[in-house]
């Protein structure tokens, strides 16, 4: 620490995956910091990440994927990183594609670069049918609303600039299952989105966050979130203009005083 780019990896019980992932990133990129947000894991995720050379922020209890991710954006804003790449800890996101995302975000004509597994058919596995149907529906909705094709609306493999970081760190970022609805929110907030083709693999070990009955809630939440997002367009536009209002730096200042 302290470089211009930070890779944010939310991790929950990923002791087995996190170390090798950090090493794979380090093999390919030397000019980045790696931040692991340990989302209250019961195993030794933090220790494994620290041992592998990452910066570790350990949440006091399990808060979910979105809240862990948002912690990373707040961290990146606080330490003035210029670009963030968010990726999953389970090994699905190919480390070789990080550079692709970074090259695109550095062009400065876009605020969020989303890694799509469906452009160019680079993906090495097939998602379960239910998930594919869900992705198809949400992708269509996002495409219609944003007016541009969205091929992978559920991708958590993204690169952001500081404007996008501010938006993601704001109270308006949906921390429970941030997904296709975020694309619509970004679009409504006037942020520029672009998809680039990336490679994704099947997860290596551990449990997916989309296990059990969670997909049912996920579908409900996604429809609800997209619907209300369409109802509150103006607020987002105003808030993204008033940058300081949404950085959460105010919360930190309050703690200090």
């Amino acid at each position: 620490m302290h470089r211009k780019i930070i890779i944010v990896i939310p991790a929950y019980n990923e002791e087995g995956n996190i170390g090798p992932l950090i090493h794979r990133i380090r093999e390919k990129l030397h000019d980045v910091d790696i931040l692991v947000i340990d989302d209250g894991s019961a195993d030794h995720t933090s220790r494994a990440a620290e041992k592998a050379g990452a910066i570790v922020v350990r949440l006091p209890f399990n808060m979910g994927y979105g809240a862990a991710l948002q912690t990373g954006f707040k961290f990146a804003l606080r330490y003035r990183y210029q670009y963030v790449v968010q990726m999953d800890a389970d090994g699905q996101h190919d480390t070789g594609s990080i550079r692709t995302l970074l090259d695109e975000i550095k062009k400065e004509d876009v605020d969020v670069v989303i890694g799509s597994r469906f452009m160019d058919n680079r993906t090495t596995y097939k998602s379960p049918l239910v998930r594919r149907v869900g992705m198809g529906i949400f992708g269509k909705i996002a495409s219609v609303i944003t007016g541009r094709p969205v091929t992978d609306p559920t991708s958590g493999f993204q690169a952001l600039n500081r404007d996008a970081m501010r938006f993601y760190a704001s109270p308006y970022y949906p921390v429970d299952y941030p997904d296709a609805d975020v694309i619509i929110m970004l679009h409504r907030a006037g942020l520029r989105i672009r998809e680039v083709a990336v490679t994704m693999h099947a997860r290596k070990e551990g449990t997916s966050m989309h296990s059990g009955l969670k997909p049912v809630y996920y579908v409900f939440k996604m429809f609800m979130s997209m619907f209300v997002t369409l109802l509150r367009e103006d607020k987002f536009v105003k808030r993204i203009v008033a940058k300081e209002e949404i950085t959460h730096a105010d919360t930190t200042k309050n703690i200090r005083s």
């Binding site: 947000i37 570790v56 949440l59 808060m63 912690t71 961290f75 959460h248 930190t252």
Partner: protein
């Protein structure tokens, strides 16, 4: 409405008033949360004492018995108070999240400083 029912309703409401005020006095309940309960107690007393009003409301909502009206309003009250608490919980949830995130970031900063 039989006199026993009226006495019972008024007694319960007065008891509710006393308990609410005492909870606020002992700082076990914030004023912010007490108003809805006090309003309900006042509503029950009003309807129990002013029987004509209860009859009028019963006719307006199309109920057959005045007791149905009381139960209906009781149900509505519970819905409203649950919704109110749900909004409060959502807001508290966000506060706890922000605090936990900031604490975690600051803790990591302290740890890095002490490791140097």
């Amino acid at each position: 409405m039989p006199i026993q029912q009226r006495i019972f309703a008024v007694s319960i409401s007065i008891l509710l008033f006393i308990v609410i005020i005492d909870l606020v006095r002992r700082r076990r309940l914030r004023e912010e949360f007490s108003w809805l309960w006090l309003l309900t107690g006042a509503g029950v007393i009003l309807l129990a004492v002013w029987y004509d009003l209860l009859n009028f409301v019963t006719r307006v909502i199309g109920a057959v018995l005045p007791t149905t009206t009381l139960f209906l309003f009781g149900g509505i009250f519970f819905m409203v108070i649950n919704l109110y608490y749900a909004t409060k919980i959502s807001s508290l949830h966000n506060h706890v999240k922000d605090l936990a995130q900031n604490i975690a970031i600051l803790q990591s900063e302290v740890k890095r400083q002490s490791d140097k």
